[in-house]
């Protein structure tokens, strides 16, 4: 991985320790999300259902692992630990990707559903970082958003194609969504130290607000495609009298009108407890690094 710098004139040194730690944790979560997804994507190389998708998923994998590399570099700038060691030198329980990304690639519908849920949540997250006061991150995010919109458009096209593609594709896609929704919520679970990130302007929207925007935008599509959408408006929804006069109309956690899951809200271990699929992948993707730790390849 090559050293990439962000905008000149801004450095981590302007941050107090607690804010720097919160930023480091956020970067690690984002980097691990992209890193692990990139590896699962790469598994389709050579065996995707269409030649075009062999190419597409290989390209997606390269993009995501590239994003991860750049995020690990930002993190290395904060902590002083080499990016390669962060990426490959951790024990399996040290990874912080969301539970959504732990699953093996599954069948094609599963891969598409997982990617679509991730890409949409990630797009909202990137929007909340586009105006970040931490210039190196804002610069990288501006570049990532331009690439991610290709991914998102491609996944959206596949969601429609499978949902409208006859009984079996629609059934498989619905089953994948059903299974993945609870784990998808982990992508936008509030990061540790979120308050500090918001106060410092590093993050410009709370993840609770991000989650409401994400669900709000997906609701009509899932209804149109007749796919599972296990959320309902919180009690008191759409009754404007429940909102005190002058209060902002933005849906947010704790406000009526917000969408809440019809299943039990997942616990806080969505980024810390990993399943056997990921344990297997970790063994694969770290095997070369572990064969000679610290070597330059």
């Amino acid at each position: 991985m090559s050293a990439l710098t962000g905008a000149t004139g801004t450095s981590a040194h302007g941050l107090d320790d607690a804010t720097r730690d919160a930023l480091a944790e956020l970067l690690l979560c984002m980097a691990d999300d992209e890193f692990v997804l990139g590896y699962w994507d790469s598994e389709w190389t050579g065996i995707a259902p269409l030649l075009e998708e062999d190419v597409a998923f290989s390209s997606l994998a390269q993009d995501e692992i590239g994003h991860a590399a750049a995020l690990y570099e930002l993190l290395a700038g904060l902590t002083g630990e080499p990016a390669d060691r962060i990426a490959y030198g951790r024990e399996v329980d040290g990874y912080r990707q969301a539970a959504l990304l732990d699953h093996a690639r599954g069948d094609w519908a599963f891969s598409i559903a997982r990617r679509f849920l991730y890409d949409t949540a990630d797009a909202v997250r990137l929007d909340a970082l586009a105006g970040s006061s931490y210039a190196p991150l804002a610069g990288l995010v501006a570049k990532m958003r331009r690439e991610e919109r290709y991914h998102l458009a491609h996944m959206h096209a596949w969601m429609v194609r499978l949902a409208c593609g006859g009984e079996e594709p629609a059934r498989r896609l619905a089953a994948a969504c059903e299974r993945l929704w609870p784990d998808a919520l982990a992508v936008l679970a509030p990061p540790a130290g979120e308050r500090r990130l918001l106060d410092a302007g590093i993050l410009t929207e709370s993840f609770a607000t991000c989650r409401q925007r994400w669900l709000g935008e997906l609701a009509p599509l899932f209804e149109e495609l007749r796919l599972p959408f296990p959320f309902r408006p919180a009690p008191g929804a759409s009754s404007s009298r429940a909102r005190p006069a002058g209060a902002p109309a933005v849906a947010d956690a704790g406000q009526p009108g917000r969408l809440e899951p019809t299943f039990p809200e997942p616990g806080p271990e969505g980024r810390t407890r990993h399943n056997d699929d990921f344990r297997w992948l970790w063994g694969e993707l770290t095997s070369v690094y572990r064969s000679e730790p610290g070597a330059t390849w």
């Binding site: 075009e52 597409a56 949409t120």
Partner: protein
């Protein structure tokens, strides 16, 4: 070093950079592609800032080394630094670069999609056959016969920066440098 001498050195650096080919599409140089952001030149140090075309571009290190090698000896120290301080966009490809792309069978990118505000709709559909004003339309003119009657085959091509099209007029596939 006088101001004139500095300007002269900077000009020679830009001329040298114009001879550094892109490793994936060698008909165009790093200057044609707009990868070079800034050049600071003095007898002690030359510093070049470069903008990666894609975050995960695997050619980045090769480009960095090619630039450093080409400039070696022009100052005591040569620094080549990639940066994301501003995003590289396909609008940075020069008119000369577009002509060279076309002549070697690559459709140059269409206009760069506008900077998207943070509150934009999350997804737009990429139209396979663009019509005027359709959201996410991707247009390409066939570099072989000049027809605009083309269809997007795959937004993902053999490298991160290329998409694959089909020309309905001369019935040939071709690649377009992606508009990003």
């Amino acid at each position: 070093m006088s101001a004139t001498a500095t300007a002269e050195l900077e000009r020679r650096v830009w001329d040298a950079l114009a001879e550094v080919p892109d490793p994936e599409i060698p008909v165009v140089s790093v200057v044609d592609l707009g990868i070079v952001r800034t050049v600071e030149a003095g007898p002690e140090r030359i510093r070049v800032e470069m903008l990666p075309t894609f975050v995960g571009c695997p050619a980045l290190e090769v480009i960095r080394q090619s630039i450093a090698q080409r400039l070696a000896g022009m100052a005591r120290r040569v620094e080549v630094e990639p940066t994301f301080a501003e995003p590289w966009t396909s609008d940075r490809i020069t008119p000369d670069g577009r002509r060279k792309l076309r002549e070697s069978g690559f459709a140059p990118p269409g206009p760069q999609p506008p900077e998207e505000p943070a509150g934009r709709p999350l997804f737009t559909t990429i139209a396979l056959r663009p019509s005027a004003g359709s959201p996410g339309a991707r247009e390409a003119t066939c570099p072989f016969c000049g027809s605009r009657d083309t269809t997007l085959e795959n937004p993902f091509g053999p490298t991160l920066c290329r998409a694959i099209f089909w020309c309905n007029a001369c019935r040939q596939p071709f690649e377009q440098f992606k508009a990003v």
